[in-house]
Symmetry: C2
Subunit: 703 residues, 2 copies
């Protein structure tokens, strides 16, 4: 996956044409012109196109794009929907690199609009000119103060900073921009509209390479092209830039609403979250949390084993803060003796000098102690960030405290994070915002953001998935158990020896050859739940028993599945008994491709939904991490004196299944191994039953 274009002409063009420039202040063309001319620091060449007027606001206009003397790098299209295609064709003809299509009235309005979008896409593909939009508010480069947007709010939201934003949906995107109010600074914002060509993935990829972006924030309703998204996320991970993502569609209501709002294919939310974790993308639950986490990462980078300090003047707020931190599983730092000594020297005897530090209200009456004590805490080598619970707005008293805390920040190597708990946001709050300390608005939110911050520090990139096998569903074919097992065996998995018997006599012969005890199972690709219909008999120890079992499973099949094509019965050597049963599967998410799911047998998957997921590839190390995520993992380690399972064999089996699928990514629709029996250490992992489903275009079971 490459195909990412250079988007510099979009974010910092040397020349621009505004197609549809207008005198009318309230029109899209008029508002866009005002943003470029009045509110931007644009120093390149600006061309205007207006079909009827020779000049707009005193600036000369061309009648059409084709009349331009040379090709500008960027075109901004603000003409009514009916004129858009023509404008685009002219742009392509003269060699414009990128077009921003502000105009709406396309795919979001119905069939006709979608047809025009297909034309747009074809134009982009045939000419190489890239399209942004349509039905979008445009693009904003805050660090360069450039707004190719019709938004009247452009001029209000101009706090520069290191966070880049790519959002689907202008409303939620602008919501993030308004977080400038609490001191968050943004490098740029793109809101991608109908994504006829360029999509969120392209902007993440651009920001991964943009020197002024350190953290990437994104809001997604649907991922248009999964492999492209994964490639962009990989680029961000390689550049060491965290991506903080809010993905709408984690409940059925949300999926339905997002699908109807953006007309995207929606994959499984569980697969999506698993993919995010795997790529190091930090998934958040709401817009304010996106700002909390992105700002924190913009202010400091977490190390492994990050610990925090709590520093406040209200005993109750400190206790509540410690409670939240504890509930989030965060570790409070233990202070070095010098830190404690400084606190003891500066604070009253009844202050709490541990962590949390409860200064008592001495900091309100004598704020001068704040700077030194807080900086001492922040400079303690064990401390990665300092939480400052502020339960109240005490007016000027709070302002002084905020000023001293901001001064302490200048002496501190780690972020000091005010948690502004009050509904009253007066001068002190604004001081924190102006100092770009980005106050978090509740202790709960703060603890959650710190947890994400710390988790990012613990994240180790594994093999990065590329979205193997992504795509819409198609025709499939299910293999019989024997065929499926043969495929797994040839891929290195351990499968009990066995053969198909066509008659009872043959069954007895095979059993004798394999050695007793054996299992007899009905053999038919048409019967998936063999046990449920009595199609499986285990632990047969005599020829007679094998003969009877052969008849019994055939009879069961005739009775319950009269239409099934029967190949005979599979006679298998019994696998070693005992151990732990595992469900292991690979299935295909239409957006993100092949994904492995594992869980313990019995109630763990079905009742408790205790599973772990990864996009392929999964190697043995990643398999180990998957298993450790299971709540039931202690059962594999040997709970209460039970023998630990053969984890090595289990991880090897998982990696082998992954390798099998990797070798034919387009060929396999689904593999389900249920159960995979894992014995005690050294006893291996055995495929006891499997259903393999191929995509029809694939050649065959071992092709």
């Amino acid at each position: 996956m490459s195909g990412f274009s250079d988007l510099a002409p979009l974010f910092d063009p040397r020349s621009v044409v505004l197609v549809g420039a207008s005198e009318r202040a309230a029109s899209v063309g008029g508002r866009t012109l005002a943003n470029i001319v009045d509110h931007s620091d644009f120093r390149g060449t600006l061309h205007l196109v207006n079909a009827t007027r020779p000049e707009v606001r005193g600036l000369a206009c061309h009648r059409r794009v084709a009349d331009l003397p040379s090709a500008p790098e960027l075109a901004v299209i603000a003409v009514p929907a009916a004129g858009v295609m023509e404008a685009l064709r002219e742009c392509a003809a003269i060699g414009v690199k990128i077009c921003v299509i502000l105009t709406s009235g396309f795919g979001e309005t119905g069939e006709e609009g979608r047809a025009v979008e297909t034309e747009m896409k074809a134009l982009a593909q045939s000419t190489g000119m890239r399209l942004y939009g349509p039905n979008c508010p445009g693009v904003t480069n805050i660090n360069k103060r450039l707004g190719f947007t019709f938004s009247p709010a452009f001029k209000d939201d101009l706090r520069p900073g290191p966070i880049g934003l790519a959002t689907q949906g202008g409303g939620l995107g602008r919501n993030l921009m308004q977080a400038m109010e609490r001191g968050a600074g943004f490098a740029l914002w793109c809101s991608t509209g109908n994504e006829v060509d360029l999509q969120v993935a392209d902007f993440i990829h651009y920001m991964a390479g943009a020197p002024d972006v350190q953290v990437i924030g994104t809001i997604l309703e649907g991922i248009k092209d999964g492999p492209r998204f994964l490639a962009a996320a990989r680029a961000a991970a390689e550049a060491g830039k965290p991506v903080v993502a809010l993905k709408v569609g984690r409940s059925e209501y949300g999926m339905k609403a997002a699908a109807s709002h953006t007309a995207s294919l929606t994959g499984s939310a569980e697969v999506n979250s698993a993919a995010f974790r795997q790529m190091g993308i930090i998934e958040v639950d709401d817009v304010d949390e996106l700002v909390d986490v992105a700002s924190l990462l913009a202010r400091g980078r977490p190390q492994r084993g990050a610990r925090i300090a709590v520093f406040g003047s209200s005993g109750g707020a400190c206790a509540l803060a410690a409670d939240m931190v504890g509930q989030a599983g965060i570790v409070l730092a233990g202070f070095a003796p010098e830190t404690t000594a400084t606190l003891a020297e500066k604070l009253p005897s009844f202050a709490a000098l541990g962590n949390p530090v409860d200064t008592t209200t001495v900091t309100l009456t004598n704020p001068s102690v704040i700077e030194e004590t807080l900086a001492a805490v922040a400079n303690d080598p064990a401390v990665s960030l300092v939480m400052l619970p502020m339960p109240l707005d005490y007016g000027p008293v709070s302002l002084t405290v905020a000023e001293r805390m901001a001064a302490a920040q200048r002496l501190s190597p780690v972020p000091l994070v005010p948690v502004w708990m009050s509904e009253r946001t007066g001068a002190a709050y604004r001081h924190f915002a102006e100092a770009e300390m980005v106050p978090i608005r509740s202790l709960r939110n703060a603890a959650k953001a710190f947890r994400r911050f710390i988790d990012r520090g613990e994240w180790e990139p594994g093999a990065m998935p590329r979205g193997m096998g992504a795509g819409p569903p198609g025709p499939t074919r299910t293999l019989s158990e024997a065929e499926g097992k043969a495929m797994l065996r040839s891929s290195g998995l351990v499968v009990p020896e066995g053969r198909i018997a066509r008659s009872d006599t043959e069954a007895v012969e095979i059993a004798a050859e394999l050695g007793f005890p054996v299992a007899v199972k009905i053999a038919s690709a048409d019967i998936l739940h063999k046990s449920d219909i009595g199609g499986v008999v285990l632990g047969l120890r005599t020829a007679e028993a094998v003969r009877a079992a052969f008849e019994a499973v055939r009879e069961a099949a005739r009775r319950h599945e009269p239409a099934a094509r029967i190949d005979g019965a599979l006679v298998e050597r019994m696998a070693p008994s005992g151990g732990q049963e595992i469900l292991l599967s690979v299935s295909r998410d239409p957006v993100l491709g092949q994904v492995m799911t594992c869980g313990l047998g019995g109630i763990h998957v079905e009742l408790l939904r205790d599973v772990s997921r990864r996009l392929l590839p999964v190697d043995a190390a990643e398999a180990g991490r998957m298993l450790r995520e299971l709540r039931g993992f202690p059962l594999l380690q040997g709970l209460r004196g039970a023998a630990p399972c053969d984890l090595e064999a289990l991880c090897a089996a998982m990696a082998a299944v992954s390798a099998l699928v990797e070798a034919r990514p387009e060929g396999i629709e689904e593999i389900e191994i249920n159960p995979l029996r894992v014995g005690a250490a050294g006893e291996g992992a055995w495929v006891l039953d499997t259903v393999v489903t191929l995509r029809e275009k694939d050649a065959g079971p071992c092709g």
Copy 2:
């Protein structure tokens, strides 16, 4: 538990003496005087006491309390710590009903201060005069505009309303008061300081009876007197007034910090949360959530099966709102045909008329449609409340929208709840606040608050616990299995028949009498984990086997527990095999008393911590509710074709254990039944093993 005094003299006294009235504006006495004289609507008689001045601010002062012509109902003590006890004694002597002790420097400072608090407590007990504090900011009655408090913020936080607040810790309490900024209205606030006498429970009890309080909010760090708290909560439940509680101490850090801040006994957080659920107390996670939920309940009362509507103008915000609602398990209402018809008539064709209603930005350009469409949604009989996601502050445009929405509220029988998602809180936000629509500050918070609101509508009060057996630990004595089983049998539980054998011959005789198969178990009150040391042999079918088992368990005991006193061996008829194993216990929380815990055997309790808890009493109906809370409950119902368990017998057994403890609440420290085997329907529930621990003052196993 009664002992609740009438607190009207505290909240609305006819006469007050301020002891320590001062000219100095910054002093406690001076600030309190200003609050009473300048900022309160106090119309009763005010006496002042000052030891040295004949008048303060032109008002005549008495030199001491003893000089007062008559006893005021309320005394407010603002003298330095050294003079407090004398002032209190004089107040008691003349017949003051309640004293507010603002002064600090007592229990919170150390041993000496705690000794003075003991004196205060003794004075209150011997005279009946009630004490509030010390070390507290005083009391605020907002609805009557009365402030017997030294807080300079009193005059700033005066929005009246139906929510009463009782908090431990002034900082967090004042934080709640500052939520007036978003339109929350409060009836009164007490912050209880060191709780030497009156405690949060007393104020909850008062508010349960106060006509101007409809919802009670509380912040607790430690519950001083559990049974008193439960009695107050019961009074609130009986008055139909929801209690919304934030309890600090749900993590180890929080427990430690709260204990050091308030010096309260801390019980188990899990028991505390279980007790809250049982009493219908709505437990919240943070201060802002307390305001969200209390305000919602102040604005509307949930009915069973409450459903919500989402109404907004941003497709993205509506999709995210629906997603949050879905994740919280909330059901979106289906609209009546008339509602849909109104929406279709008033909104553009491309609007989404389902639920969520996405009006599109027509409501920004033509706000007049809001009132009618929103009122139509709110008047739909299926709708219990309407969520209004507001992602942005668009300045004057948003203000108009807010005005139209507030107008719609006046036409609507259910709460319209704006969710103000932006960090920018301009005129529109303030309009919502002034209209007392109490905007919630994130979609996530809103979904959480709605969930609590709906849950309250589903809550059915069961038997209300009274805190049986609460109190600090003391000496205990553990019964042998045979003794414990005898006690359970006599309380109506089903226990396998059995007797103690002193010799192998006696063991064989007992076995023959009971009928084979039998179990043989070492009998000793000193050996708790009999199986672990080989002290249990099951399924014995012959006399010889019984004889051998008798020797084997004695030998095992000698080897592993040489010091244990051995009574012999318990020979028991085997219980029916199969079924499901349950762990059932009653233990004692020092604060809240006896609590029943149940869970499924195997991994469910130990690994998955899947348990359900209730304070006693638990009757069969409550036992059924406990079981249904277990994640593993489907296993009891018969998962995948397994036979359902004898739930009736299980619930009866749980109720019988509860009744046993109720009959001797001071006598039982702990009962653990592990396992209780529950057979298929009709097969009953069998106590297979038990450990019963008595409190030493109790008479004996069957006393």
